[in-house]
């Protein structure tokens, strides 16, 4: 298989994730978009690993690390989102405006 196919797929996935992070309002969907971006990276790494015939398989090893750390990250992220949701009954990011430039001396 040519290297370009997985790379294009990865770039597309990364692009969709990027769009999701920027355009989505809901924190959970933003989290999902970030996961998409990380998985795009995983595809890249595995594709490069196979293409380069890396005997040490650094790419696949890195992929395992990414999967593990992404799992930890999402667990932590959901905990924070849950905490915010319980206090405000919303996870819409644009509504989280207590900390923003325009507010004169928010306390």
């Amino acid at each position: 298989m040519h290297l370009v196919y997985p790379l294009v797929l990865a770039v597309l996935l990364f692009g969709i994730g990027l769009y999701g992070v920027i355009a989505r309002r809901n924190a959970i969907l933003v989290l999902m978009s970030i996961e998409l971006m990380l998985n795009a990276v995983n595809i890249n790494l595995v594709a490069f690993d196979m293409y380069l015939r890396d005997t040490l398989h650094a790419g696949q090893a890195l992929t395992l690390f990414v999967i593990t750390i992404a799992a930890a990250e999402i667990g932590l992220g959901l905990a924070i989102v849950l905490m915010v949701f319980r206090n405000r009954a919303t996870t819409d990011i644009p509504e989280l405006r207590e900390l923003a430039e325009h507010k004169e001396g928010s306390v």
């Binding site: 990380l38 990276v41 380069l52 690390f65 990250e73 924070i80 207590e98 900390l99 306390v107």
Partner: protein, 530 residues
């Protein structure tokens, strides 16, 4: 992708020798990792009232031991000050990593002293929520507060974060760098959301920091994948060898370089990746803000220097113009937006953005002088920042810390000592002679000028002048305006916060008057191992 490929791969794997790890050379990192694990065990097995003392003792003793290990390793460096790589090339033990690890451990000790402070809240307790999972104002939270509960988990979390920070500037391959970046960041996201006062602000800060942090680490990783695809290795040395011969514009290399740089610039809070900084600095519990502002910057600049100096020295004509642009925008934006701020913590946040620009100036010099001046600046900046945020924790009214600048009016008349110390820190931020800020700025500008980035120096000096304006404005406000009747009071802290502030003052003054010993030390430590 056939069976035969798989078979060859298996055969190849069996030939790989078992990895060797020099535990002695990793001892500072391993000690702090051990401390963090012991901290978790303390949470599990000790009764609640005994945890605070145990956590504090273990953390402080561990950090002092790790600092001793750093000094021991630094004495063991060979005479030509070249370090070595350990753990199969994954971690570098050389001048810059030991210098920055020592700095990080000292900052860590001062931060834990601030985190452990329990005299400031009138109702008792520290700066953290009695029970972070309980909703603000709920019965559950009141019960937890009445029972005198505290989240002593903050100590192991801080230690885990410190492990990542110690590893980050020492990481000699991109995998290790990514793991260190995440170990550093994940506990910090949580710590940001644990403030006792202004819980909603704090949680919002945690969410924003988390989302943007995860977003930037995705960029970092994508860049790592590209560099791996280009060079066939994640080791910085091998990427350096592969990129040294890059004559044509190789897309993989350039994309990888750019995206890893985005991830690193985000961590140091450089424009245009700075938008999280003021929000997070304002919302996070102030001791954590101090720790984050000082230590994250030291670790991230260390990693950034290693990345650019070891992996991409051959690409300097490609990345230098861009980084010069970033440095200029960072200095200008940080200095100008800071003028309009009305909140002390936000003001310090924008000031930290401007300082990220100054530190980048030193890094761009691409010389040993650049490395040593950057490291000196990081020491100077780290202790001033920590001290400044420590002072912020002391000025309080009924609602907690009085961070609005109007509350600080006339503080100099009410408590000249605290206002005087804060004024000293502001002068150091501004880079007034006889403070550490001046020595640091002088060193980085000199290195940048010699490195051929004269334009950067001109912008840097102009921005320092603009920045001096708003620092002096705060000093004028503190000393030359009438105190408000219902203004905040300065709470007398315990010996721990006093010690942290005293350390900040001492470093600021000593590095201002006698910078030479530390400059010499940084000079000796300026060689990256290849």
């Amino acid at each position: 992708m056939s069976m035969s490929t798989a078979a060859t791969a298996t055969l190849a794997v069996t030939k790989v020798d078992a990895p060797t790890i020099e535990y002695g050379k990793l001892s500072p990192i391993l000690i702090i990792a051990g401390v963090a694990v012991v901290g978790v065990l303390i949470e599990a097995f000790l009764p609640r009232p005994a945890r605070y003392r145990a956590q504090l003792t273990v953390a402080l003793v561990g950090m002092i031991a790790a600092f001793g290990a750093v000094v021991w390793l630094a004495r063991d460096l060979p005479d030509d000050h070249r370090g070595s790589v350990t753990a199969m090339g994954a971690v570098a033990v050389d001048g810059p990593s030991l210098f920055l690890q020592g700095t990080l451990l000292l900052i860590g000790i001062a931060s834990v002293l601030l985190i452990g402070e329990r005299r400031l809240e009138p109702a008792g307790g520290d700066a953290f929520a009695p029970q972070a999972a309980a909703a603000p104002g709920s019965q559950q939270e009141k019960d937890a507060a009445a029972a005198g509960w505290t989240q002593t988990e903050v100590y192991p979390l801080t230690m885990f974060s410190l492990v990542g920070m110690l590893l980050f500037p020492a990481a000699n391959d991109l995998l290790m760098m990514f793991v260190a970046l995440e170990i550093l960041s994940l506990p910090l996201y949580l710590l940001c959301g644990l403030a006792r006062r202004h819980r909603l602000l704090s949680q919002e800060a945690a969410l924003k920091y988390f989302l943007l942090g995860a977003f930037s680490s995705a960029f970092f990783l994508f860049g790592v994948a590209m560099l791996y695809g280009y060079s066939g290795s994640v080791s910085l040395d091998k990427i350096g060898v592969a990129s040294a011969g890059a004559m044509d514009n190789d897309a993989l290399l350039l994309i990888g370089l750019a995206m890893v740089a985005v991830g690193l610039l985000f961590k140091v809070g450089a424009v245009p990746f700075h938008s999280w900084t003021p929000d997070v600095y304002q919302g996070a519990p102030t001791p954590i803000t101090g720790f984050m502002a000082a230590a994250t910057k030291v670790a991230a600049f260390g990693a950034m220097m290693r990345f650019f100096y070891v992996a991409l020295p051959g690409m300097r004509w490609d990345w230098r113009p861009v980084m010069i642009g970033v440095a200029i925008v960072t200095m200008v934006a940080g200095a100008i937006i800071a003028i309009t701020q009305t909140d002390v913590k936000r003001l310090l946040a924008y000031s930290s953005i401007a300082h990220a620009g100054f530190i980048l100036t030193g890094m761009i010099a691409m010389s040993d002088a650049g490395v040593s001046s950057t490291m000196f600046y990081l020491v100077a900046y780290g202790f001033v920042t920590l001290g400044a945020f420590a002072v912020v924790t002391l000025v309080r009214d009924a609602r907690g810390e009085a961070t609005h600048l109007s509350h600080w009016a006339g503080l100099g008349r009410r408590s000249p000592l605290v206002a005087g110390v804060f004024a000293l820190f502001l002068l150091a931020f501004a880079g007034i002679p006889l403070t550490s800020g001046f020595s640091g700025k002088f060193a980085v500008f000199q290195a940048a000028a010699r490195g051929g980035a004269g334009s950067l120096v001109v912008v840097g000096v102009l921005c320092s002048a603009v920045a001096a304006f708003f620092y002096v404005r705060v000093i004028v406000l503190m000393f030359f305006s009438e105190p408000k009747v219902d203004g905040p009071t300065v709470v007398v802290p315990s010996v721990m916060t006093t010690a942290a502030i005293a350390l900040g003052v001492a470093v600021t003054v000593v590095l201002g008057i006698l910078p030479q010993p530390v400059l010499d030390l940084a000079d000796k430590a300026a060689l990256f191992v290849h």
